[in-house]
Symmetry: none
Subunit: 213 residues, 4 copies
Amino acid sequence: MDEAVRAGVARGRPRSERARTAVLDAAADLLVTGGTDAVTMEAIAARAQVSKATVYKWWPSRAHVMLESFFSRAKDTLDVAPEASLEEALTTLVGALTRIFRDTESGPLMADLVALAQADRAIRTALDEQWLRPRRRVASQLLRDGVDRAELVSDTDVAAAVDQLFAPVYHRLLLGHEPLSDELAATLVRQLLAGLRNRDPQRTGACPPRTAR
Amino acid sequence: MDEAVRAGVARGRPRSERARTAVLDAAADLLVTGGTDAVTMEAIAARAQVSKATVYKWWPSRAHVMLESFFSRAKDTLDVAPEASLEEALTTLVGALTRIFRDTESGPLMADLVALAQADRAIRTALDEQWLRPRRRVASQLLRDGVDRAELVSDTDVAAAVDQLFAPVYHRLLLGHEPLSDELAATLVRQLLAGLRNRDPQRTGACPPRTAR
Amino acid sequence: MDEAVRAGVARGRPRSERARTAVLDAAADLLVTGGTDAVTMEAIAARAQVSKATVYKWWPSRAHVMLESFFSRAKDTLDVAPEASLEEALTTLVGALTRIFRDTESGPLMADLVALAQADRAIRTALDEQWLRPRRRVASQLLRDGVDRAELVSDTDVAAAVDQLFAPVYHRLLLGHEPLSDELAATLVRQLLAGLRNRDPQRTGACPPRTAR
Amino acid sequence: MDEAVRAGVARGRPRSERARTAVLDAAADLLVTGGTDAVTMEAIAARAQVSKATVYKWWPSRAHVMLESFFSRAKDTLDVAPEASLEEALTTLVGALTRIFRDTESGPLMADLVALAQADRAIRTALDEQWLRPRRRVASQLLRDGVDRAELVSDTDVAAAVDQLFAPVYHRLLLGHEPLSDELAATLVRQLLAGLRNRDPQRTGACPPRTAR
DNA sequence: TCTTAAACGAGACGGTACGTCTAGTCTTCTA
DNA sequence: TAGAAGACTAGACGTACCGTCTCGTTTAAGA
């Protein structure tokens, strides 16, 4: 009936939750065991014991499957202990990201998604809005609060600072030139907040001048 | 003959330089105009007016074509003025990278290569060894020199610091969440060297304490 | 309950006559307007405003729908006027067939059914027993009566003769090499009964000899 | 070179004769062993050890494969012995058709082609022009010659007569209501030429009157 | 000048995955 | 219990690109 439709009453056979999770699991498994090239719609359907038509019905492309597979897994915390210092809070955020990229399927999934985002603007947008932005927002707010309290210098470029905390993690995930070590998060936060410049050279006391080379 | 072969003397028709450059140009053009998906071996050969066999003869995969296409274009300078300060030198390096990614075909090419590197370990290695490592080496040396002359603090994690300078550029190139602006390089260098922490809050003198939140 | 079932009393919702005729009409309409390929179970159900399950519940395949659709339409007469001559009677039978194939939906339906019969033995059997055989039986009886009364030669192969009357109609329907013209039936009957051989060459009188070539 | 192209000089790898015949054989084999439904492009390619792309390159549809498969096999003779009588000549033609339909793969192939012709006008045309018409032409000419020499009556409808000879064969092939027996051809020719009407009933002399029923 | 051998263009080939379509079946709610 | 809605499995469709192959055709160095 029309009323039924308008009321959102389900008509017909309901969507199979089993199929949905099987697809998401299959995609992640294939990626981890066989690499990007192994994750074809054909292979996903076969491993999930699901017909290709069902996959295409709910996800328009392999990239969208990966996206949902990633989001169904990657649940890092955005909660920061209220009593934590700024340094502690930022370290928690960056450390959580580092660990899920290094220790879970989310790492390969994110790497693959960034690759897919180069070919599909919708994926890039979804990644930005649903993953990056919320995390950047939390970090940005912490930094802005620091500026407001005068804990941080007033000319801080918050966006750039956030990139200096998070980008190295993605960079190492994607290129692998350096490991995602346990200390990385603390190091990134410490070096950004305190800076690299030596303010107490040879025990001269006082705050350090900008020493030209 | 055997002697000729042993002597490395070229026998037969020499490799066509025209074909080589046509292929590299075709790959870059296709990428810029049509996106990653448009760059197929088939399309490269067609646009370059070259047979597929010739492309496969010299490059084992599309990724290798992109790699050489990138390297034949991206010639940013690694030279730093000897009289420049540390901050100036680093800003020059990061700024050069930002500009070639933003203003030339090298940006899309690098983005595509990072994507391809997720599926092809050889590409990842080549990118690392032939592109990233030389640039990281120069920046690392500058930072280590700073530590040696006590301009920088002794517990500096050079590798992490280098990432805090370069990774944001790649991150923005790949995800596009923030622009590759003119000021970015200077900001990244400044914030990393001086840090974000306010050392002179309301003229209270002395170095600032770690203010708990 | 069981008693009711045994008693043949209908339980539950009775079958929808509307659905039945809508399906048969849809099948015929689709065939005439779009050709064989347009007649899919999907399309039939959609046009008939009926669910696919309902179609499958009552007809095991598209071929069976076509079969019933054909039989619900093709009602040519098998009655022959008792006072008619043999030639008139046969002409009536063949003419009726020609006209319903040429002027009604039964033509395309029969053509489609013959095609479907190549893939489905059940359809072939049904076509034979329910359509061909009754018509052949009537014509055969007329011919056999003719033999019995010595109007026809005693060595008549009735089955072959019936084919020589009817087969040309199906042949033209299926291949279209010649039209199903108004005169066709009369011509077929006349030529078969009287033969093509000239029995009165050059007015020599008497019955004609078999002139060798 | 242009001259080469214009001259029809073969460029590139030449077409594989092996692939061509393998496809035609596979199509015929599948049809005979598994029926119409077994003959899919997929199955043809698989059995012929040929890629689907190759099949589609040379044949636009399954129907065209069947068509060529049929023509590569069905080589019945159209030659008639010059000294043969009209009756002998026609019997030869019809008999040859009957035998290749009954005893070779050409029977199932033709049946399938007639079915396919219902959905594809191009197939119908090809069947008509390349198969039916040449055979009908020969028979028609024999009949017309007979009329010219007054062996046959002058009001003979040649087209209808040809159908009365050939159509029964196709009809039995397609519907199977009667067998394609050895005697069929002779019977069809005899009955058509001499007619069914008894001209010498009970030795009454003279040609028989039209006996009303 | 003539041979020779590698590079080249064209394009057919066997594969594989694509994204779509239809066949049938199954599950839920409604009439 | 029939029917409508619609999700499901299965598998063929026709296309595109892959990477390989087989031709005939340059092109220059060496004989």
